[in-house]
Amino acid sequence: MRTFYLKLMVFIFMPLGLMAQNSVTGTVTENATGGPLPGVNVVVKNTTKGTTTDFDGKYLLSGLNSGDVLVFSYVGFNAREITYTGQTTIDVVMEEAANQLNEVVLVGYGSSTKKDLTGAVETVTSKDFNGGNIASPEQLLAGKTAGLQVIPPSGAPGSGASIRIRGGTSSLSAGNDPLIVVDGVPLDQTGRGALNYINSNDIESFTVLKDASAASIYGSRATAGVILITTKSGNAKAPLKFNYNAYVSFAEIEDKVDVLSADEFRNVVNQFGTPAQIALLGTESIDWQEQIYETAFTNNHNLTVSKGFDNSSLRASFGYMNQEGTLKKSYFERISGNIKYIHRLFDDKLKVEANVRGALVNDEFSNQGAIGAALRFDPTKPIRSGNDDFGGFFEWTNPDGSQNTIAARNPLGLIELTDNSANTQRSTGNLKVDYDIPYVPGLKITANGGYDYTEVDGTNFVLPEAAATTTQGNVNQSKSINRSRLFDTYLNYVKEFPALKSKIDATAGYSFQRFFRSGNSVNVRGDGITERPVPFRTQNALESFFGRVNYSYDDRYLVSANIRSDKSSRLNPDDRTQAFGGVSVAWNLNNETFLKDSKVISQLKLRGGYAETGQQEIGQDFGFLPRFTFGDDRVRFQFGDQFITTIRPEEFDANLKWETSQTWNIGLDFGFFNNRISGAIDLYWREVDDLLNFISVPAGTNLSNALITNVGSLENNGVEFTLNATPITNDNFTWNANFNISFFDDEITKLTLTDNPNFQGNPVGGIAGGVGNTIQINTVGFGQNAFFVFKQAFDAAGNPIEGVFEDINGDGQITPEDRRRFKSPNPDFTLGFSSDFTYKKWDGSFTFRGSFGNYVYNNVDAASGNRREIFVSGALTNVSDSFLETGFEQQQLFSDFFVQDASFLKLDNINLGYNFGDILDGLAQLRVFSTVQNVFTITDYDGLDPEVPGGIDNNFFPRSRTFLFGVDVNF
């Protein structure tokens, strides 16, 4: 084949009648170690001619003409350019790219280099990942980049974090989850923990397209940002290598919710109870939280094998994770596999890459109702009653011995008599082909086909004797299938015009993705009744054309433009196609003559961009169509002696469309002292229009009282600052540090079709305490999810006076109009500080994460910190110990007393490793490591954890502090 290729080259270049051609060999080595570098790309500049180095770092390139420029490039290293003048040997020493300007960065449907980027794009590679017992890989990123919040999941094993790019305030109801693309395949993100099927060990890098001008290549799915995940691959011409990586960890809850102790409870009941209520007291002293939580162990094993061949490489990994939760009977088990195979044909002109990854997950969810029950259940009551009712667990009963269904259930009974589990099978994969089109140097076609398949089989088994049901137990079985398939194809053309000092990189393509989701369940009750909700099946599809042109002049001036036209099945056929796009420019000041030779400034790039993007997660697939839904068997209606199944016409908005946003971004990338110090600052301003809002329709006009339609606008703006520094680097000691800080601001600017200053806003944020109460509101002129509360009045001693609030509107009485918008769960700014060091064979790192100006509604205290709660409904109920402080007689749900500053600084993790290097006479290399997760939290917040979803703290599965020990062996 090689000779054929040579002949072809001769054939092609013959008409040009150029001078004699020769070949060159050489070895590429790494500067730091002097060792050979396999897999380095060696190409002749401005051609597609090239090769890669073999395992020994050697290469051979033929058919060269004098004057050809050879470009040596390798990810993470500075590219080298050497002019061929007839040498027979060119040995090259590659230097690791401190400034990483030539680092390849994914940009969606292609890649660029850091120096050519015009938008705010940040890549985090595996060496910077967070350590710890991490089931769902997005947590690897927490605290690592400005403008990206990864809010860690609760303590439930296997659960996923929530990811918010640039504040996550770009939509009120269409979702703020960024689009996640794994090896080119956008994932179906509807399930639980969309990423927890991916073994963290298989991830090479995350690229975060923060800025809309970068993300806009994803058009209608780009507003909330895009995260591109690249999985690891093997190197070509590499020997067979094994890596075994494993850890064990144990975890305990960080803290418990403060409720009354048994003695405190007894005192309170004796003080306030009627004789009948006092008689209900028991004699035990049980800390129910202690009963339901336990030490949780995890073990995790990964085995990776990789092998490089002449024209191909293979990497396969196998992982097993067994993660217990601190709540008894909660458990996550995952068996995962990942195979990546890359084959190059026809002298690298055709590259075929196949990825398949899959996971089998067994979840045991336990009964999380026990978390709330443990706070409420009477601490003076025994765990077991001594009789056989309710499985032997003590439960509150009515005078006739039947269960008191209003009282709290025995927390241990809830856990022990319930078995709630699910088996998940998930696989994603893709086959990608890159082909260099003959005769047109620089033109490449790529086709990528991918799939995503998830099947979840759930079983919730409640024993007949359990107090959790009044139906003599039940077996609820559910099954859901989500699947999607993708096809992309695009052409990429790269051409340099040396005479014009110009370079063009253009891409144009087509994409189609189709989603299908289904679910059904059946509930067989212990009393013999079978309940079947109407199964659901739905589908949607997105067809797109996209293009991008990058132009650079003299490596100084860069322009990039994206366009994407999306056509969605979720919208009315008449206007289901819309174009999105963006333009961005950048100026590499460091390449200007006045800075080119600066010893101080190594990088200075000014960027600016504008883009229009969309948000298509509109909640329903056919919201634009008139349609009917069947009622299930339990909402039939009696005609005579028959029960008729009903059909209901659904509300619809024929004009439903995307949320669209316009974003401006300006940024500055800087680097000093050969990028020993580097960083970036970005400012953005975003306006989102046609918000998908769930609003009231004029009564009687549609088939419900409210529907999702496009009305309203909001604005976001923010500042992000990142600083990376390598304060020390020498033979023995290296220290890197990263600091990032992000400021956010958001304001709702419109919510109704017609301006109405009297419109109070849309209540949101349902709370515990009563039914249907909300604590937050979205109002024009304010930020999202502002707490909507009365201003508590205090006595001279500083204690809150029950039921007394400030008369905000001054009308002399306290009415609902005296509620005001007070703070919100959204932080004013967040920061991350992480650092890593190596000292000889030791390495270590830590990550701090902070959030400031975010408030939390302490729903535990608000709903349960009062006397009435103790005596409600013929049983005794434990309450929050805030009652001892406030003495509240009844719930003061809407007092701002319970809206508390939840600013925090957390030391998320500390890692320490020791690298033994070669062991067993060099047959293997060994590193051992240890991590502590959730080391400490500094906060003024009174509740369990200041970081709770939505800013409403209630029945939160506590996060745990984890201690981990691991080994990593290469052989």
Binding site: I529, Q638, G640, N702
Partner: protein
């Protein structure tokens, strides 16, 4: 130059690899719903229309398409709360001296306290539920064009269409009763984005009467339709309700017309059931109560579930020292009690003389010191999930009740007859009226001891007797307004003071919810709000 076959082969190979991937690319973006149905494939059979009509009927009983909850009809409030009958009941009873609630749900106490405003979510939920029902009916009537129905060759479909028009009229009655002048939408307007005009109370009053007159002959004769469906008796009762309250609604006395309709009802063969308690039991569709009931909202512990309606009525009043098993349920909800003002309507509250005094007092105080304390206020034991033979209802779990809700029953017609006569309507006489009232009292007392004399038959007596006979059946607010005492009478916490005080006169109308004022600029708020 010779042809390079190898190159061709190579290109073919590359392109084949690409096309292999392209197999998955069918580019289909015009997709159809899979679970949900389009109008074309649901209303293409007679059964489709029957299912649709059943859904309009079920609008009073269920809260959505998944039982007991999960796919709600309306939003903005907890789905269980959103149930039509539950809202209707709360607005008729919690605003009156018959019921108060212990819960802390949103602004529910504003109903008890007579301080509701346009932002009150319960005021909105009732309004939205009424207009959901109207929109649903309009959609049915629009889809069920005579041409389309004729194709099925099924006369019952035309009758169902008349019944749906009755259901729409019923909801419009609720609309003008609570809210006065409301958006006026009929089947003439396609569902979609438009701003309805506000119809005056009188305009809609006339529309309801016209509709009822138009459908009367198309309805099944009284007592001749399938159980659960409306018939001419229901039409007559609804007309009576409008005429009897016409002074409130349109400022005109229409008592003679009321008596005309009542005479049709009374002559249609309905009979008082011999046992008052059995009217509200789990088997009240078959235990004989059905002969007294003119229009009912049927529930079923297995087939018609929800957290509103009957489930609410059998659970919410139970708690304290009561045993849930005495009601065929799995537990009380510790919510509803009554005021001393209602208790005082009975001379003997034990139930030993008047069977309708169905109080439970053990562990309860008569007086209300704390509206949130379930132990304050006597309990009322009226609706139950036990059958007349003492068996629990069909739902062995004890959650969902079987008892059907009697919206119109003969006893109500008797009392309205007496009232219309007393108010000067012609077409009836006092003697007959006295006889009807005494029939009710004989059933309650089990003997003639409770009989009253002609002299005792006064309007004040009628108001009290309606409370004794029909309490907790969703009549009280309308009755108090018609008798002019809704705002002036006093009970605890009315006006947000413990001893109670009169409320503002404008509270005889609810406010138009602020949500609809914002959505529809054509609307004018009721005075006082």
């Amino acid at each position: 130059m010779k042809i390079n076959y190898k190159k061709i082969i190579r290109n073919v190979f590359g392109i084949t690899a690409l096309s292999f991937l392209c197999i998955s690319c069918d580019g289909e973006v015009d997709l159809n719903p899979l679970t949900e149905q389009t109008p074309n494939n649901t209303l293409n059979t007679a059964d489709g229309f029957v299912s649709f009509a059943a859904r309009v009927y079920a609008g009073f009983a269920v809260s959505g398409q998944q039982g007991p909850a999960g796919n709600p009809d309306i939003s903005g409030i907890d789905e269980g709360f959103s149930n039509y009958l539950r809202q209707f009941w709360k607005h008729q009873e919690l605003t009156s001296d018959e019921a108060l609630i212990a819960w802390n749900d949103g602004t529910i106490h504003d109903l008890n306290n007579h301080v509701w405003d346009a932002a009150n979510e319960f005021v909105r939920a009732m309004y939205d539920r009424i207009f959901f029902q109207i929109a649903l009916s309009n959609e049915f009537i629009r889809q069920a064009s005579d041409d389309r129905l004729a194709a099925f060759n099924d006369a019952d479909l035309f009758r169902l269409k008349a019944e749906v028009r009755f259901l729409r009229a019923l909801s419009y009655w609720h609309a003008i009763d609570f809210y006065g002048s409301v958006p006026f939408v009929t089947d003439e307007q396609e569902a979609g984005a438009f701003l309805p005009e506000q119809g005056s109370r009188a305009e809609i009053f006339n529309f309801i009467i016209d509709e009822l007159n138009a459908i009367e002959s198309e309805m099944a004769p009284a007592r001749q339709n399938q159980y659960g469906r409306a018939d001419q008796g229901a039409v007559w009762m609804l007309k009576t309700k409008l005429y009897l309250n016409a002074e409130v609604y349109i400022g005109q006395a229409r008592y003679t017309e009321a008596l005309t309709e009542l005479n049709k009802v009374i002559g249609a063969g309905y009979t008082l059931h011999n046992n008052y308690d059995e009217l509200f039991m789990a088997d009240n569709d078959i235990n004989g109560a059905q002969n007294e009931v003119i229009y009912t909202v049927p529930f079923d512990g297995l087939a018609t579930q929800g957290f509103g309606g009957m489930t609410f009525l059998i659970h919410a009043p139970v708690g304290g020292n009561q045993n849930p098993s005495n009601f065929g349920i799995n537990g009380g909800w510790f919510g509803l009690r009554t005021f001393p003002q209602f208790v005082s309507l009975f001379d003997d509250i034990s139930g030993n003389t008047d069977d309708r005094a169905n109080f439970f007092t053990d562990g309860q105080t008569l007086e209300i010191e704390d509206a949130f304390n379930f132990a304050n206020g006597y309990l009322i034991e009226k609706f139950t999930n036990l059958t007349s033979t003492g068996q629990p209802g069909k739902d062995a779990g004890g959650d969902f009740g079987d008892a059907d809700f009697p919206m119109f029953r003969l006893a109500d017609a008797y009392l309205m007859y007496a009232e219309a006569v007393l108010r000067g309507g012609s077409g009836g006489d006092l003697n007959t009226a006295l006889g009807f009232v005494n029939e009710l009292r004989q059933r309650a007392y089990g003997n003639n001891n409770g009989n009253i004399t002609a002299g005792e038959l006064t309007l004040d007596f009628i108001l009290d007797e309606r409370a004794r006979e029909l309490h907790w059946e969703g009549h009280r607010r309308t009755d108090l307004i018609r008798f002019g005492v809704f705002t002036s009478r006093v009970w605890p916490f009315k006006g947000e003071v413990p001893e109670g005080r009169p409320s503002e006169a404008f509270r005889v109308l609810h406010p138009i919810p602020s949500t609809d004022l914002i959505a529809n600029p054509n609307l004018t708020q009721n005075p006082g709000y």
